[in-house]
Symmetry: C2
Subunit: 111 residues, 2 copies
DNA sequence: ATGATTACCTTGTCTGCCAAGGTATAGTAC
DNA sequence: GTACTATACCTTGGCAGACAAGGTAATCAT
């Protein structure tokens, strides 16, 4: 297996796809959820996430629709398509393989 | 702790520093060693590693010297400086934290 | 001699991430 | 009522990392 070049840099894509594979979310919610679950290790920026979502939508991984919240504020919810689900699975697998490979090298280096 | 932006993309830097924290190596050797230990998962390219080594040298993380191999071929060996050793430790720690955080998010997503 | 491998290097391109800025609404504090 | 904060969306521009592609030159095997 070869890592996409994109993947080596693309932790953000992995996170988005992973979160959306649980349920549909809107952009701002993804930011907060990632921060919460990682104990604030991840602090993705809006300038990172919105363009990423748009790009994934164009690529056919996501499907978006506007929903009104109770307060009347409009939110754009994103859900995985079938293609997106395959991407999510693939990226997770790649990440696991990557982390195993990194550990194989760090491990040699003292421990 | 916050990840350097650089780190999120910079697996290559981590690998180089880790390998050099074991012993001095020359560029080409690093490529091969990374590939060998990762069971060919990593196939770093020369266009990646040489500029990276030069940059780390400029940053004062590495010290380089030319050595002749038995065959008479010249090789440029790189060794960590004290500063480089601190960097290596820091980057390893960051990587471990990153992988924990990613797993915290992937974990929620079905498993 | 021809090609593969070792070993170094640089330039140009593509893309990801983010800082910075912008819009607009809802809730809270004074 | 007005200022501030948080929510929620968005875009533009710049910087840096990874690599494809190309180059040099020596050694080794056929």
């Amino acid at each position: 297996m070869n890592y996409d070049r994109e993947f080596l840099t693309g932790t953000v894509g992995l996170l988005i796809l992973s979160l959306l594979s649980e349920r549909a979310m809107y952009g701002y919610e993804i930011l907060q959820e990632a921060e919460r679950r990682s104990a604030s290790q991840f602090q993705m920026k809006e300038g990172t996430i919105y363009p990423a979502l748009h790009q994934m939508e164009r690529a056919g991984w996501l499907k978006a629709d506007w929903r009104e919240s109770k307060s009347g504020r409009a939110r754009r919810y994103y859900a995985l398509t079938a293609k997106g689900r395959r991407q999510a699975t693939s990226k997770k697998r790649q990440w696991v393989a990557l982390s195993v490979a990194v550990r194989a090298i760090l491990g040699g280096a003292h421990g």
